[in-house]
């Protein structure tokens, strides 16, 4: 196993997994020239999924046993006792939304944990600010230039590869901005010098560009050019083009499904990826949220099926991957006048991995009676998001210095 994770930085060649079905042609041409020397043991890959728009955690994982919930959101309340589309009872207190059905086995097997009542100490209910605070990892400071995942890359204690941190988005998310190299790729197939319909001309152009960038007097262009071509060569486009997910996994054809599928490809290429980032949208359910059907249920099903497909596809790699979800805040406990919920405070998140202490809802949630709610309306934040992010980074990415990861945070870590 250790051997398979090995990676050689210079020379741009990755050591490919033996089980991948042959060495790609460009590797074949150069692999013989340079001996592959592993320089460090790669950490796991942490896959982060940001649910933008604020997911209603009280509907995804419902504290159905609290009678206040039914009072405050009669039109949105669900329970395990329902005959149709009933909740999946987790522990007599919480129930999993039926749309999360594809993930429920992992909870039962103890590989998936839920953290409830999680959020930011900053009380902002603005998507934009809350996302910014969660991604910078500094809930009370806007001037933090870097994102927490970018800092995590720098704290792994070893060199980075061009693919150490990859976001499957068009632009680099706030979480990954910062001093360390991070890559935003919307579509792996586009990560190549291309002349549409004429791959040969594309190759020739690539060759010209590589030499031109190598000769430029501008150091930044020279260095980035070198890294770009290294990264390009590391990427096994054949695997991308003819990709068949393992164990018959079927990804939903949605933005999240497509992103996770490409993350799976990158994991299998074994090119040193330790942080991967994907996004899921449509959680801002102010309007007609629905219960077992409707916009929320549909979105949650896509979320669940995408992650489940990814996990299935990761078959032989599951020991090397951890998935963590996050959302900027939760939604009001009461339903609003248009069949939805407004911006609230705490929500819930999911962590999936073979060595996660799962099968449990981690929470410090109190009663949902109005007087116990934050500002009489919202589920209070009882778990700081940094206690979860920090613990996951420590356990799965071997980030030791969590004080540097979350400057200013002095609370406990929540190990799962």
């Amino acid at each position: 196993m250790a051997n398979r994770r090995a990676f050689m930085k210079s020379g741009a060649m990755a050591l490919f997994a033996t089980g991948l079905g042959g060495v790609p042609s460009f590797i074949a041409a150069t692999a013989g020239e340079k001996k592959i020397i592993p320089t460090y043991k790669k950490n796991k890959t942490l896959v982060c999924i940001f649910q933008r728009g604020a997911m209603d955690g009280l509907m995804a994982v419902t504290p159905y046993s609290d009678p206040n919930l039914k009072l405050l959101r009669p039109g949105l309340y669900m329970s395990p006792a329902q005959t149709e589309g009933q909740l999946f009872d987790l522990d007599g207190k919480f129930g999993l939304h039926p749309s999360l059905g594809s993930l429920s086995p992992y909870f039962t097997e103890g590989r998936m944990a839920v953290v409830h009542g999680v959020g930011s100490p900053n009380k902002t209910r603005s998507h934009f600010d809350a996302q910014d605070y969660m991604e910078s990892g500094t809930p009370n400071s806007k001037s933090t230039a870097s994102g927490w995942l970018n800092r995590a890359v720098g704290l792994t204690g070893h060199e980075a590869t061009p693919f150490s941190a990859v976001s499957l988005t068009a632009a680099l998310p706030r979480s990954l901005q910062g001093d360390h190299d991070a890559l935003a790729i919307n579509n792996l197939e586009e990560f190549v010098i291309q002349m549409r319909g004429n791959p040969l001309a594309g190759n020739i152009a690539a060759n010209s560009f590589e030499q031109l960038y190598d000769q430029t007097s501008n150091q930044l262009l020279k260095q980035s050019g070198k890294e770009s071509f290294e990264a390009m060569k590391m990427l096994d486009l054949k695997l991308v083009k003819n990709y068949t997910p393992a164990s018959g996994a079927i990804y939903p054809n949605s933005p999240l499904g497509r992103s996770l599928k490409q993350i799976a490809m990158l994991v299998k290429m074994n090119i040193g990826m330790e942080v991967a980032f994907a996004e899921s949208g449509g959680w801002d359910t102010h309007f007609n949220q629905g219960t077992t059907n409707g916009s929320f249920a549909r979105n949650l099903k896509d979320f669940s099926d995408s992650i489940a497909a990814f996990w299935k596809d990761m078959a032989g790699y599951q020991d090397e991957v951890t998935v963590m979800t996050m959302t900027e805040f939760g939604r009001t406990v009461h339903q609003n006048g248009t069949g939805g919920t407004d911006h609230g405070r705490a929500s819930c998140l999911f962590v999936l991995g073979n060595d996660v202490q799962g099968g449990k809802v981690y929470h410090k949630m109190g009663s949902l009676d109005k007087a116990s709610l934050e500002d009489n309306r919202d589920l209070p934040v009882t778990t700081d998001f940094r206690s979860v992010f920090g613990a996951v980074a420590k356990k799965h990415l071997n980030v030791v210095d969590t004080a540097k990861l979350f400057p200013g945070y002095e609370g406990d870590m929540l190990y799962l």
């Binding site: 680099l172 706030r174 890559l183 040969l200």
Partner: protein
């Protein structure tokens, strides 16, 4: 007595005219730094415009360097071609009220219908169904309503078209610079409808005027008031407010405590004026926020609160409650009436609207602001790490002229640092600058901006969408990274091969309809056109060794023979957003293709593509 008054008037006149008239003469010391006039002209085009067009260096030399710079600083060159190109964009001249009542998303329309009772709860539940959605959109069409995406499309298109075609290039650069400095973003739903008028009314008129005018205009514009939440900031420290609260029943909405929001107050000091190390503390943030309580936006939605407010304002009491200035609204009942202290300066109680304006004035004239703003300008126009000396020289003029941006620019151009050899071409173009400079350098015809916008996004700059108030960072390392660099190269290849719908390029016309005789010749010709002022020998030498390789050339011939350059037909690139809200941007390279009629061979396009994607073309 009369004489004393006269003397006083005379003195005050002398004072307002003389000490403040520190207008300097433009004296650009390029010769002292060993530059020829031509090199200086090239540098000016590279820094004070979005890159030269073919033959523009010669044109600039004919005009004269000083005169050209002064014209750019005056920003009054006729722009008839640009105006013609913008005439089809009907949203550009609309006011905020029209915009917010015209560009509605489907959800807003449904809520509106619901309010009027034309929509039942039953049918609401069916909203997901496509046919229902069609009904809503049909209704929108009947009522002349449009989707917000269409507004965004026009906003983006006008920026690209202006940057390419405006004769007043510096004005476009400055608009880009100040917009980014006072950044707002269409990613925040509340401010999105106002971004177009923000750039047009709050930024553009002041780009080379006084800094304080910019600061005030941005502070009072709905886009900023919503973007940084000041619109919702209020206080209970208000006698009128307390009286009202006593009168209304316990469950009234008016009972709710008004909350202070410090978001804008913090950013106006950290990002707009003093800078993060500018000498303020958290207490100052709170005090500025208190001074700006009640600064909000006039309600503009039809049938809403707006009409009631207008009626109320006609009464005597109403005038004290709410003051409007355009779409800016000062709600006196939400203003904190107590005393405040900002950066050591006391503001007595009951300062009202004026108090906030005085705070902005205090911030604008603070020495930290002069340094912070001048450093940012020097970083944009000179180099990523300007010297302390240059910044100080600029800040001195900035302060003496009461924050005159034009005079500060002249101070920068009069500095030797601007002309230093190591400064030439040391900056990296942003993706937007790359795209615009490529079109300008090749005299291409920009007919539709949708695809170019997609390319900017792929290269890492989604314009008008930078979510954080910092704006895009102005340093090379932000723009140049592994992912974006390959896309820059691909952009070069795509645009030269005529594979970007909406952009027409005639490479033959660029060379006076003379077809290069060989690849070598093409290299020589187009390097000279696209990269004026570069060491052509060195540049061409590098490229030649690549294309002269005979084996390679044979492969290239063979490769390119199979795909001659093609252009995508016009019909498919109307783009835009249809009534269903789906963006009609044609997929890259998937439009109907037809043979290019310019007769230029694929090899020439290949060479031009490599030049545009090369490191040299990324520099400015």
């Amino acid at each position: 007595m009369r004489y004393i008054v006269l003397i006083f008037i005379f003195l005050s006149l002398a004072f307002t005219v003389d000490p403040f008239n520190s207008d300097q003469r433009l004296q650009m010391p390029y010769k002292k730094e060993g530059l020829t006039e031509r090199e200086a002209a090239e540098h000016l085009l590279s820094r004070l415009s979005f890159g030269g067009r073919p033959g523009e260096v010669e044109k600039l030399l004919a005009t004269g360097l000083d005169k050209w710079v002064l014209q750019q600083l005056e920003q009054s060159l006729p722009d008839t071609d640009l105006e013609k190109r913008l005439s089809g964009y009907d949203a550009l001249s609309l006011d905020n009220q029209t915009i917010v009542n015209t560009y509605l998303n489907a959800g807003q329309v449904v809520r509106m219908m619901q309010k009027k009772g034309t929509l039942s709860r039953d049918s609401m539940a069916k909203l997901e169904k496509d046919d229902y959605r069609k009904d809503v959109l049909k209704l929108m069409q009947e009522k002349g309503l449009k989707l917000p995406q269409e507004l965004n499309r026009q906003l983006i298109a006008q920026k690209l078209i202006r940057a390419v075609y405006s004769e007043n290039q510096l004005q476009e650069l400055m608009t880009d610079f100040w917009f980014n400095h006072f950044n707002v973003s269409v990613t925040k739903g509340q401010s999105q409808p106002y971004v177009l008028t923000y750039e047009r009314d709050a930024i553009r008129p002041h780009t080379l005027g006084k800094f304080e005018s910019l600061l005030k205009a941005t502070a009072q514009h709905p886009a900023m008031l919503y973007y940084l939440d000041n619109a919702s900031s209020g206080s209970d420290n208000n006698a009128m407010n307390q009286r009202i609260k006593k009168m209304v029943p316990a469950n009234s909405k008016l009972k709710k405590a008004a909350g202070l929001n410090e978001n804008y107050a913090r950013e106006v000091m950290e990002l707009h004026t003093l800078g993060v190390d500018g000498g303020y503390v958290q207490a100052d943030v709170t005090e500025v926020a208190r001074a700006l309580t009640g600064w909000t936006v006039r309600p503009m939605m039809k049938d809403g609160y707006g009409e009631r407010l207008a009626k109320m304002q006609q009464s005597r009491l109403g005038k004290n409650v709410a003051t409007t200035d355009g779409d800016f609204l000062f709600l006196a009942v939400r203003h904190d009436q107590q005393e405040k202290t900002v950066l050591g300066k006391k503001y007595p109680s009951n300062g009202g609207l004026n108090e906030g304006l005085e705070v902005l004035h205090q911030l604008a004239k603070h020495p930290s602001t002069a340094t912070f703003i001048c450093k940012k300008m020097a970083t944009r126009f000179v180099c990523d790490t300007p010297s302390v000396k240059l910044v100080a020289a600029m800040a001195d003029v900035f302060t003496k002229t009461g924050g005159d941006i034009k005079q500060t620019m002249i101070a920068m151009l009069n500095s030797r640092e601007f002309w230093k050899k190591e400064v030439l071409r040391s900056k990296i173009k942003s993706p937007f600058e790359l795209v615009v400079s490529a079109i300008r350098a090749t005299n291409a015809d920009l007919r539709n901006a949708n695809q170019l916008n997609d390319w900017c996004t792929r290269m890492g700059q989604k314009i008008y969408s930078y979510a954080a108030p910092t704006g895009f960072p102005d340093k090379a390392s932000f723009w140049v990274n592994t992912g974006s660099l390959l896309n820059r190269m691909n952009f070069g290849l795509a645009i030269a091969a005529q594979r970007i719908p909406g952009v027409g390029m005639n490479l033959l016309a660029l060379n006076n309809n003379h077809e290069p005789e060989s690849v070598d010749d093409a290299l020589q010709t187009y390097s000279t056109i696209l990269l004026p002022g570069r060491n052509q020998k060195e540049n061409i030498g590098r490229l030649t060794s690549l294309v002269r390789d005979e084996a390679l050339q044979a492969r290239l011939d063979k490769a390119l023979a199979s795909t001659q350059s093609t252009a995508t037909s016009e019909e498919d690139m109307t783009g835009g957003v249809d009534m269903m809200g789906e963006e009609k941007t044609p997929k890259m390279g998937k439009g109907k293709e037809k043979k290019m009629e310019t007769g230029v061979s694929g090899q020439v396009a290949h060479v031009v593509g490599i030049i545009i994607g090369s490191p040299e073309f990324q520099r400015k």
